[in-house]
């Protein structure tokens, strides 16, 4: 018997019990489809984070007050008091380092914004002129905060798109005065749409000069210092420089944290990898269950066809012929189920982002290969036992079976 012969035989057998074959395959289909789908969700999330962090600028370091670790794990509190980061820290970092291109002291707070009778509570960020380039931000109309705005503590504001729409609607905002806190600020620009990036809605922020923010919030405590390093190769040297300078200013204590985006990326990738592995593992279990379903149905099918086995043996079928016949049926079930599962899983993975916008997906070829070959081996593995059982029936016993 050649391969086409065997395939025709399996087709005949499977087609004679269509519903049962379809239901058995369904187990494999669901298993394979969910493996592909869950891996593509994991891969999609990974790609999404890479893209988003790229959106937020490259070669960026963040200095935040307090000692934390971006690598995970806990540190015992080293001191009861944590020294805050202040404006001068940023100035000195910029002045005394070789590898840092720029250091922006960032204030962040919440304040009431009013225009005529419209008002909303809003995040207000105090930044300098270089912040926009660092974070890849752009204006839709007007201009950014300039160096002279910062130097002369000018009361000017650049509005995020959502803020502008809420306060002004379709009306022109440029040049008008809005009330931020207690004082009037002139609108000099409106941001281009940026969207939500890593949980921060850049469209919902009002940017003002960092010097004005210090006055507005009446504090010198910085939210962070955002640092642009000259090149990606210098990230480590820059981090060392910053630590050295700040520790000297903080009485030798490292009560601050320098985070790099790569480090954050590393942590998130690690978490995502674990999550993907766990999800794929669960999906693989469902594939295994599908395989058990195949074995179950093959056992039933063998039992139903004991007489057929006897007839075939009487006509000259060898044990091997019977083994191949039943094994090819289970392999056909799992391969066909696997193929449908691959198509279904890929289709769901492609379609999912259209229905759930927060769930980016990316189909990876290796997941398709793994799912497909895993399903094939499930078919062989779970098909061998029933097929072997079938092949070992004594012809007389099988012929007499009712």
């Amino acid at each position: 018997m050649d391969v086409t012969e065997i395939l025709t035989m399996s087709k005949d057998a499977l087609m004679s019990n269509r519903i049962r074959s379809a239901l058995t395959m369904l187990g494999v289909i669901i298993g394979v489809a969910s493996v592909i789908m869950l891996i593509s969700i994991g891969e999609g999330a990974r790609a999404y984070i890479h893209r988003e962090l790229g959106n937020l600028g490259t070669n960026i370091l963040l200095v935040v007050p307090g000692k934390t670790s971006a690598k995970g794990g806990f540190h015992p509190p080293e001191a009861s008091t944590i020294r805050k980061l202040i404006y001068d820290d940023a100035v000195i970092i910029k002045k005394r380092t070789k590898h840092v291109a720029d250091a922006v002291p960032v204030f962040l707070g919440s304040s009431k914004i009013k225009y005529l009778n419209q008002s909303r509570d809003n995040s207000v960020a105090g930044v300098t002129e270089t912040y926009f380039d660092m974070r890849n931000l752009a204006v839709e109309s007007g201009r950014f905060i300039s160096e002279s705005d910062v130097d002369s503590k000018r009361k000017v504001a650049v509005l995020g798109r959502t803020v502008k729409r809420d306060l002004f609607g379709d009306k022109n905002a440029l040049g008008t005065l809005v009330t931020v806190g207690d004082s009037k600020y002139r609108v000099i620009g409106v941001m281009e749409k940026k969207g939500v990036t890593l949980g921060i809605d850049f469209d919902d922020i009002v940017f003002i000069p960092t010097t004005s923010a210090q006055e507005l919030f009446d504090t010198d405590r910085l939210f962070n210092i955002t640092i642009k390093v000259k090149s990606s190769k210098e990230l480590a040297e820059a981090t060392a420089e910053i630590k050295q300078i700040l520790m000297k200013r903080h009485a030798g204590r490292e009560d601050f944290t320098v985070m790099s985006q790569d480090e954050m990326l590393g942590v998130m990738t690690k978490v995502l990898n674990i999550l993907t592995a766990v999800l794929a593992g669960i999906a693989a279990i469902s594939l295994l269950v599908g395989g058990i379903g195949i074995m179950n149905i093959m056992l039933v099918s063998v039992r139903e066809r004991i007489r057929e086995i006897g007839i075939r043996k009487a006509l000259g079928a060898k044990n091997r012929d019977i083994l191949i016949q039943f094994l090819s049926e289970s392999v056909a079930l799992s391969l066909l189920g696997g193929s449908i599962g691959v198509l279904l899983g890929s289709a769901i993975s492609l379609g999912l982002p259209y229905f759930l916008e927060f769930l980016p997906t990316q189909i990876s070829w290796w997941s398709i290969f793994i799912a497909f070959f895993f399903s094939a081996s499930v078919g062989i593995f779970f098909g061998v036992y029933p097929a072997r059982k079938a092949s070992l029936y004594d012809p007389i016993t099988a012929l007499r079976y009712e």
Partner: protein
């Protein structure tokens, strides 16, 4: 061609050992038409299965075509059944999933004959038993006599030396039974050895020789 010497067959059941055949000595010559008679439970079917290489004797020797069958492996026996022997059963034993011609070609599948040749041969043999018009029919669309003719066609397709029939007319009306017996007689005239198990005297009388089995032993006609 067939020589049995002191062939015994016993089945070991949980509590007792049942001796079905208790020392059969017999010979069958080439081109013979032989009937094996005996009441039910006499062991005549078991004897036929042993002659047909579907079963092995517990002890004794069985020489088929001058070769001791007990020395052959299961695969060699399967090959023997496939190429030299043809079986016809009381209950026809056709596969209901297949049309008549597919049932007929089944033995050729296991002797590695190509599909187109198989179908051609199957149709030829079906014509020989007068069932060309039934080739595409399934067994539930055929009468008992027709089914048995399909089964005979299946037994004949590899040009076997011996046809073994276990109560071939047992499930048929007398007219169909006669037709089947005519086919067997015709085949025997062409040179096929026929061994037929029956408990009906009229059937056995049509054979060239009759042996009688009772309680697993030969009552007469074995030589």
């Amino acid at each position: 061609m067939i020589v049995l010497k002191d062939v015994r067959k016993s089945y070991v059941l949980p509590k007792v050992t049942v001796e079905v055949l208790r020392g059969i000595d017999m010979e069958v010559a080439e081109k013979e038409f032989m009937a094996i008679m005996g009441p039910s439970g006499s062991g005549k079917s078991t004897l036929l299965h042993i002659i047909g290489c579907l079963d092995r004797p517990t002890s004794g020797t069985y020489m088929l075509f001058g070769v001791d069958v007990s020395r052959k492996t299961d695969n060699e026996l399967a090959e023997l059944r496939n190429r030299k022997l043809g079986f016809v059963f009381q209950s026809f034993n056709l596969l209901p999933r297949f049309p008549a011609w597919k049932n007929v070609e089944l033995p050729l599948l296991y002797s590695g004959v190509h599909a187109t040749e198989r179908k051609q041969k199957a149709l030829e043999i079906l014509a020989k038993v007068g069932l060309s018009h039934r080739a595409e029919h399934y067994s539930n669309e055929l009468s008992g006599g027709e089914q048995q003719r399909v089964a005979i066609a299946r037994a004949l397709i590899n040009n076997p030396a011996i046809i073994l029939a276990d109560e071939p007319t047992g499930n048929l009306d007398s007219r169909s039974g006669k037709e089947i017996m005519e086919i067997f007689k015709g085949l025997n005239k062409e040179g096929v050895t026929i061994i037929l198990v029956t408990h009906e005297k009229e059937i056995a009388e049509q054979a060239g020789r009759t042996i009688t089995i009772k309680d697993g032993m030969c009552q007469g006609g074995c030589y």
